[in-house]
Structure formats: C-alpha cells, structure tokens
Symmetry: C2
Subunit: 414 residues, 2 copies
C-alpha cells in the first residue's frame, strides 16, 4: 500500500480537525483509495493536546523529505503566505483552507506551484465542507458558467435568519450571536462583507478564470438591513440574504457582495442559520445548487482531506487564469431594486417620485405606502430591471427634490 505522509502547519480548529479525522478515517481512506495517509507532524506554537509529533519550527515540516503534502491551516496572510511559498519551493504540494491568503495571493501561489512542479489546492477556503471549487473545475469542466452566486458567510446568514424569524433588529441579534459564538467579538470581517469578498474573488477565479482583487470587489454588508426591510420583503414574497455574486453578462464579468432580496421560492431562500449554499448556472448543465456547512473544523477538514487525497493520487487539477476578462463596473450592472423611503404624508408625493424615476428611465414595478407615523409615511418601491447608474441618478434627483424625507434603504433584488 502506498504511504503518504503529510505535515500540518497550524493546529487551530481546522488543523486539529484535519489531524483527528485523518486518524479516525484512515482505514476507510485506505480502503477507498489504496493509500495509507498519515500526519507525520504538525507545527504549532501554543500547547495542544494531541497524540502527534508537534514542533514549533515550520521548517521541520517544510524540509522533511518524507512529507510530500503540507497542509496550511494557520490562517491570515503572514506568516502563512511565506510558509506556503517555502513549501511549494521545497516541491511539496500544499493544501490550504485559508481564504484570505488564497484571495489575496492566488496568482503568486499558483506561479510558485507551477515553477516548482507542485500543486496548491484550497477547496476548504470557500464553502467549508461544500465541494464547490473542485466541482466547478472538474465535474463541471464542460460548462460555460453564466452565474455563480451564493450565501458564503455563515455569520451573516445566521443573523439574517434570526432577524427574519424573531422579527428583531440587527444590533440585538448580533449581540446574541456574539454570546453564542456565532459572531466574532469584532464582527466586521463577516458583517461588513469582507469575508464574502474573499470568497467571491476565489469563485470568480475558479468559475470564470478571472483574477480579480478582492479589494476591488463591490462590497456592502448587512449592518444597514432593518427589521422593517425584512418584514416588507417578506410581505411581497422575498427574504433578504447576503450574497456573493459572479456573473457574466455580454462578455463582461461582474463580481459583487451585497444583501439582496431573494424570492421565497428560490432554493437559496430556504438556506437557514449558518449554512452556506452556491447556486450555479451553466451551459449545458442548467441550474445547480450546492448546500452545506460553510465553516467549522469538521466540515472544513472534509474539504482539506479531499484535496490531500487528490494530490496523493496525483489527480492534476488545473487552474487557468485568463488575463483578458473585462470587468463590468458597478454603475453598469443591471438589477431590480427594493427601495424604502420616508416622505411627508401629503398629496402629490408619489406622483413626484414617479416622475423623477421616469425621467431617468427607471421603471416602477410596485409601490406600497406603509404605515404613517405623525405626518411621515414609509413608502416601499420595487423597480423593474434598471442600470445602476440610472437608479443612482434618480435617487440623487429624489434627494434634491425635497419630496422625500429620507431614502432609508436601497437593496438589490436577485
């Protein structure tokens, strides 16, 4: 039986789960693949309780000639990036679940791998245990994708689910989520959509061959979503989800992260709690959805081990980036919109708003005047598909006109 020895850099939640599950399922893995997979050693600075050779020196792993695959589960850019490059240069294959690193340095990592005859795989960096990246690349290789979008951040999906079912405001639910450990003490990376942009960048690369910098991806978080937006959306048959979207329209790619109204009969609408899901439209396959746990040590270890076995059985998995993909500017995207605004409850307000929209060729699909408090009415407007810059111009016009008190929220509709 072929023996494959690996080393793990970083014994945090994921690294520990990788070590534990390789040990637990090693017999089964051998039965399925004919490979005896063992973790030879791990590198970790903290003390951890594990029946495994643990070193504080990463080079003891990177330079161990018996180790053919290095798993990086340190997280963050530094020192993880440096160590991954070193491992590739030492002709090791690398598996990482480090979304920030992969999103930030994909090109550099792929180049280092290529130059050294190594490979780097990172299924666990997106969607935790959901097999999405390798599936897009391998099983679905015959497809031209038009759209890949999904719920890629468990924390925000948990918060939005709770806001929906418990009819509570964002800040209240966030606090509860932090107490339960579903949100970080400093929740900005999740709440403000940074985590989702890492994943969007990786999806754009694997699905569309497009090397987009995550910093350049349009990003809106969920912190401005109000309980009333969720309520009004619900009344007209929608839920609100934070989506990462990569979409090809007329030869250009748009990549963006923002909350969106999702129709209740769309398969993504029923993705609750901290689950993730990816919706894929491809030609010839049609529409697919992949659903599962988007984070967590156990789930992510499944993805990491899958990649390790792929490398151990020498399945080549090519990632080709295409330099010539044009990006669509955010102001050029087309979308439907939900708008919540407040106005004085007086004659002619709706007519005034409608005129400004019409002047910018923004077509209204539905208007709903909600409760009036004092002399202030809340109005919810749904727009037909419109180019974003026309909407922005219309909203500018509305603000200037003085017909409305406040444009409280503008949310795209999937």
């Amino acid at each position: 039986m072929k023996e494959v020895k690996i080393g793990i850099l970083g014994l945090g939640t994921v690294g520990l789960a990788v070590a534990e599950n390789i040990e637990k399922n090693s017999g089964l893995i051998a039965e399925k693949t004919g490979i005896k997979l063992t973790v030879k050693k791990a590198c970790e600075l903290r003390k951890v309780k594990i029946n495994l050779l643990v070193t504080k020196d990463p080079s003891a792993i990177i330079n161990d000639p018996e180790i053919s695959i290095v798993v990086e589960t340190i997280g963050g850019i530094d020192p993880a990036g440096k160590l991954v490059i070193e491992a590739l240069r030492a002709h090791k294959h690398v598996v990482t679940s480090n979304k920030e690193l992969v999103a930030t340095k994909m090109r550099e990592l792929l180049l280092a791998a290529e130059l050294n005859g190594s490979q780097i795989l990172f299924e666990g960096a997106v969607g935790g245990g959901i097999p999405i990246l390798n599936t897009l690349r391998d099983e679905l290789v015959g497809n031209r994708f038009s759209e890949i979008y999904g719920i890629v951040n468990g924390t925000t999906n948990y918060i939005l689910s709770k806001m929906t079912h418990e009819k509570k405001e964002f800040s209240e639910v966030l606090k509860a989520a932090q107490k339960l450990g579903y949100a970080e003490a400093n929740p900005a990376a999740d709440i403000e959509g940074y985590d989702a942009t890492y994943k969007a960048a990786i999806i754009a690369a694997i699905g569309f061959g497009c090397s987009v910098k995550w910093e350049n991806i349009y990003r809106e978080g969920i912190e401005k979503i109000g309980a009333e937006d969720i309520e009004y959306a619900g009344e007209i048959g929608y839920v609100i989800k934070l989506l990462a979207i990569a979409k090809r329209t007329q030869g250009k790619l748009e990549v963006r992260v923002h909350p969106a109204l999702v129709a209740k009969n769309h398969p993504l609408a029923s993705v609750e709690e901290n689950f993730n899901a990816f919706y894929v439209k491809g030609e010839p396959v049609g529409d697919l959805m992949f659903y599962g746990p988007g984070a967590g040590g156990a789930a992510t270890s499944s993805a990491v081990i899958g990649d390790v076995i792929a490398l151990a059985t020498q399945k080549p998995r090519k990632i080709v980036l295409n330099e010539n993909i044009q990006m669509r500017k955010m102001e050029e995207i087309e979308s439907r919109y939900y708008i919540r605004l407040t106005a004085q409850d007086k004659f002619g307000v709706l007519a005034g708003i409608a005129k400004i929209f019409a002047d910018q060729k923004v077509s209204i699909a539905a208007v709903n005047q909600k409760e009036t408090v004092g002399n202030t009415s809340t109005i919810v407007i749904l727009l037909h598909k419109v180019i974003e810059k026309n909407l922005l111009a219309a909203l500018e016009g509305i603000k200037k006109s003085g017909t409305v008190k406040e444009v409280c929220n503008v949310i795209r509709i999937l």
Copy 2:
C-alpha cells in the same frame, strides 16, 4: 495541445447533446484543460441531422485506434452492455449515462475495465447534471457516510409537486404529465420506482462500496399516494416525496425506494417540479445537499463531458466494492410512519386502535380524526420510531380486529 478523440455510441437525446456541447464548448474546454477534445464519429442506426461522421457499425468506433474514449448513450442493457464490454476489451475508456446498465452490470463492467487497464465512469447515470457520484468518491473521499438519500426521479417529483400545488389526484396529474412529455406513455419505470432503484443501487455502490442488486432493493412507487394523503401531510407540516435511501445503521446498510413524508423545513421539501436532489450525511463533513436537473440531454451531457475530461486528463477514479457489507432486511428498519385509515364513527374505536399498537410496542405520536362521511371516519395517525416488523404486526392485528374498515395508506416519515 493534446488531442483527444472520442466516439459516441447512440445519438439519442443524451448522445446528441454530448456531441453538440463538445463542439460548442471545445474552445473553452481547451482553455480550461489544455485538451483539444473532438468527437471523431458516432454510431446510430436512425437518420440524424448532425455535422458528424455517423456510422451504423459500432465496431468502427470500438476498433478505431485514434479513439481513446467511447461514450455509450444507447440506453438499456442490450446491446449497450455488450458494446461497452467490447470497448473496454479494446482498451478504450468508457463513459456511460446508462443507469439501467450500470445498476445491472456494475461488477462485470468494473472487472472488464480493470482487466484491460481501462476505466469506466458514469456520473450521468444518477442525477443527470448534478455532480454526485464523483463528488462522493473524490471530493468527499475523507468521509464515512451514514445516509445518502434523495429525489432521484424527475417524473414522480413532477407529479407529486403538481398533486400538492393543484390538489389533484394522481391519475389526473399523470395524464397531464404524459401530455406534456414529463411522463412516458408507459410510465411504470418511473411511477413504480424502478428507475429510482437503479439509482439507489448505484449510490449504494459509490457511497458505501456496496454491491446491491437493484432487483433486491425494497421498492414502492407513488401510485397509491392520494390527494388526501398530501393534504393531511401538509396540515402537519410535511410534503410527500419519492425517495431513494441508502443508510448505514449499526453496521448494516439499508437501501430502499419509497414515498416518504418530508418535513417542510427540510431542504429536500422545496425541491419542486422535475428537479432532483441528494442529501448526504457524512463524518466529518456534516449535512450536504446537491440540487439540479436530474435528466435531460443538456444536463446529462455536462456529466458525460466531465467524465470524458477526467479520463482524458488521466485522473484515476477508483471504485472499490466491499463484499462484506451486511444488508438490513426491510422488516428490521426503523422509521416513523404516517397511517391513514377509515373506521366506523363510534365510541371506543380510537382506544381499540391504540391498544393494538401498544401491544406491539408501537408508540403513537399524534392522532387526528378527519372528516366523517356517513358513519365512516378518516383517522390519521403518526407513529414514533418503530421497527417495521412491529408495525406490520400491529397493522395485521388492526385489520383482524375489525375495529377499522380499511388501512388506506401507510407512508414512512423521513
């Protein structure tokens, strides 16, 4: 650029779509994989309009030294099986989407492949365009699965969806489905669950390494599901779906096909129309769902092309069958149940039923006495988990006791 030439046996819906989509996406495939993939010729007895060399002689494909991969899309056992074996013996790799053939002759096909240094892949045989088999085998290789179940037949899911939303009886919906081409003129293979047993057998093999004969799989179709079952199930929060189930409990595998009540908040419940979906429980990954088009030329061609590319890029994909897996007998399975029965509307009937159940250690979770027509009441009973043979004994007792007029339907609850 590496050139790979394939031959297609059978230009039906799937074969044609394979040829067309390879041509359509060949540039993209070359970009992604570095392989120039072409269909050198196809074999078809009927006349087809296609810009392709078509022969009536399959050996012109099987014995063509330039062709390295043979795609079999004839369907059925004969002559498809014979030709696949011939192709494998001629050291060709084979890709097939022929569920009946794979379910019936898997062992023989795998052996022929092994003996001749070839491989046979069949992603398209289950779930159409949904990447499930290769994903279970490759991406999820590190997992021990406890359950894999799903909606694997589009026709029956379409009929059940329509019965649910339009509140119509089975026979009426079936006729409409036949008119629309969603059901065959002879619908038995779908309706009675045969198609689903083929897929269950293949899933059991790939997910659990278990070689189970499809003829031995417990099978119930949807022909006995009444509009009132769907209505009553709906009232208590369930929909009815035809499921193929493979499940490991206490070291034994159970494989079965039957309708089941699925809780409305379960991700499978919202799989509508003729879509398919697979729900997978694995350790360490947790719960996953894969959703998409379960049939059709275009969708299935995506799976076939994926397999072709896998073979062209020489990704080994091992299938290991384990002879030592014990099967659980159907009478030994544990399940919750929904029971609809009719009884005379008189004092003591419910008590009598309850006593017979209690005597067989069958525990009632809920009872609902529905409408009374004349002096006949409909009673719906939900049971807690029970071993099937105990339920059968209780039902026998109830029938003999004369307390009920008829046990109209017994449906398992997922």
